[in-house]
């Protein structure tokens, strides 16, 4: 059964880049010029599924998430969550959903525990549940500090604890690991994975490894349109017709990256963090020899290996260089 149905969503925002002059200014104040931020978005999420929305900054992920959770209206199209039309019938299901949003905060004048206890009462949950979540998220000892004294990671863990309070049937997670250190991020991902048994989860992230680890299916959004939907595995398989190499050089120069990137048969070139290695995706297998010749002409190669595609490769391939 589908717990979330998103049908042909279109959303416009006022175009803030449009700076008219003269009388057009007044016209723009009365009826602001709009730009499309979501275009014909269509997908469904099944019960118990973790569905990832992947996209660059400004792709429309958070807007879409807010529309599904009833925090924003659509301009066209329909959204049904747990069988109820959103945002009109949000009140009917508000107690059955929950989530965290990247830029949202708890009440900072209250302590973490006071925040959780207040929301526990709002959601009609016993205070023992809040205590249990404080332990679950490793926040014991921090719970009585005011919320503005927490680190980014602690704030996110408190927000996640808040979102788990009512055992939601639908959990919205908008960039749940943004700003977290790797150790905490891994812990949070494990917690989300465990949550899957109880909730259907819709997740936005820039972190492709995270999406690969967590999501059953992903939708890649670019400029407001869903350009691909599928399981991470199926998307990676589609890319296998192409070739991906990791080439270790003596020294990687920006000129080398620039030159390789210009080659017609090269899809993308990325410098691997803290290494002298480049990850090169070719558009076609047959071009491998050309690439080798090109590289070896002026550079000394230490090592070269063919690698399997990642979700990040898929993303780069679909969204473009």
């Amino acid at each position: 059964m589908n717990e979330i149905v998103v049908k042909n969503i279109v959303k416009y925002y006022p175009d803030k880049e449009y700076k008219p002059k003269g009388l057009k200014r007044i016209k723009n104040i009365v009826a602001p010029k709009k730009k499309k931020v979501l275009d014909n978005v269509d997908f469904e999420i099944k019960k118990g599924e973790i569905f990832g929305l992947l996209g660059s900054n400004g792709a429309g992920k958070t807007s879409l998430m807010k529309m599904i959770s009833g925090l924003m209206e659509t301009d066209e199209g329909e959204i049904f969550v747990l069988g109820e039309k959103m945002p009109e019938n949000k009140k009917k299901i508000a107690g059955r959903i929950n989530g965290v949003f990247a830029r949202a905060n708890m009440w900072w004048e209250l302590t973490g525990k006071q925040n959780l206890l207040t929301y526990a009462k709002i959601y009609g949950v016993k205070k023992e549940k809040a205590e249990e979540l404080i332990d679950f998220f490793g926040l014991r000892g921090k719970e009585n500090l005011y919320s503005d004294l927490y680190s980014t990671g602690e704030v996110m863990r408190f927000c996640l604890a808040k979102s788990f309070l009512n055992d939601p049937e639908i959990l919205f997670l908008d960039e749940p690991t943004i700003g977290l250190d790797p150790v905490v991020a891994i812990k949070v991902r494990e917690m989300i994975k465990k949550r899957k048994k109880k909730s259907s989860i819709i997740l936005t992230t820039h972190n492709m490894e995270e999406a690969d680890f967590l999501c059953d299916r992903v939708a890649i959004i670019n400029k407001g349109r869903i350009i691909k939907t599928g399981t991470p595995e199926s998307l990676k398989k589609e890319l296998k017709k192409e070739e991906i190499f990791e080439v270790e050089f003596d020294k990687v120069s920006s000129k080398l990256i620039e030159n390789l990137d210009k080659l017609k048969y090269v899809e993308s070139v990325n410098l691997l963090e803290d290494t002298q290695s480049l990850r090169i995706i070719l558009k076609e297998k047959t071009q491998v020899n050309h690439l080798m010749k090109e590289i070896q002409r002026e550079n000394k190669i230490q090592n070269i290996q063919k690698v399997s595609p990642t979700l990040e490769d898929v993303f780069v391939h679909l969204v473009g260089k």
Partner: protein, 266 residues
């Protein structure tokens, strides 16, 4: 039922938030006391050496005149300042997103903020009253119940103004500065610490129709002249009408801003 339970939970949360603002509250008390004590000294000096009378103010009644003004002013000042900024803070700290995601009643949220402010007003006024009772001798001639009614209606009227400012503040920046200016101008023009007779007549006519002036002068009628319900009925009706208008405007402004927020995301 949902409204009542949310209202209780949110009022407790709001009072806890006020605890975080305890320093601000202490300074609010000091501020009001500083004004009161300054004018007690000024008027005390003016009336001690002569039998002069300024706008009905003389050495026998200047203390109760100042006390009534100082007790009522926090009700107005808190609505225009801290209450309106309490809403604006929710927007800028983005704590409203989680609230609007939850099943809680939005109107319980509005009322909880107003009631928490009212509790703050009562505490401040009581504290000031106790300090004055122990330091000065004065008699409150009228009914305390009537005085309570004036307090309540004044708070109701200005909580509507405060909420409207807050709603506008969630839409446009700089509203807290406008609230501050409005509050200061009203304090100067409403005769909180001096009789309106010090103003030229043309300005006085304007000052007298201000709701702040009406509220303060009504409380003074009760405290200084022992006015009865019948005598203050016109002023009470005026304040009641102003309350209905200000709260209605706040409600429609809130609905409008909520609709606008739904277009761009809460």
């Amino acid at each position: 039922m949902r409204f009542v339970s949310d209202f209780v939970v949110l009022t407790i949360a709001e009072i806890r938030k006020y605890y975080r603002w305890k320093e601000r509250i202490i300074w609010d008390i000091f501020g009001t006391l500083a004004f009161l004590l300054s004018f007690l000294l000024v008027w005390g000096a003016v009336f001690s050496s002569s039998s002069v009378e300024i706008g009905g103010l003389n050495k026998d009644n200047y203390i109760i005149f100042l006390v009534t003004g100082s007790l009522l002013w926090p009700a107005i000042g808190i609505c225009l300042g801290p209450l309106s900024s309490a809403f604006v803070r929710e927007k800028y700290h983005r704590s409203s997103t989680y609230f609007f995601l939850s099943p809680a009643s939005r109107f319980a949220f509005l009322f909880a903020k107003a009631v928490a402010s009212m509790i703050e007003v009562l505490l401040i006024s009581l504290l000031i009253l106790m300090l004055i009772i122990f330091s000065y001798e004065f008699t409150f001639k009228g009914s305390l119940i009537l005085a309570g009614m004036v307090f309540f209606l004044t708070f109701l009227s200005f909580s509507g103004v405060g909420m409207t400012l807050a709603v506008l503040g969630a839409w446009r920046e700089g509203i807290s500065e406008i609230s501050f200016i409005l509050s200061e101008v009203l304090m100067l023009l409403s005769g909180v610490f001096y009789p309106l007779e010090v103003f030229p007549e043309s300005l006085r006519a304007f000052c007298e129709v201000l709701p702040t002036t009406q509220a303060i002068s009504t409380l003074r009628m009760i405290g200084m002249e022992g006015a009865t319900l019948t005598q203050i009925m016109p002023q009470l009706i005026y304040l009641a009408i102003f309350s209905i208008i200000s709260i209605s405007i706040a409600y429609f402004a809130f609905r409008r801003i909520e609709k606008k927020a739904m277009l761009i995301g809460i």
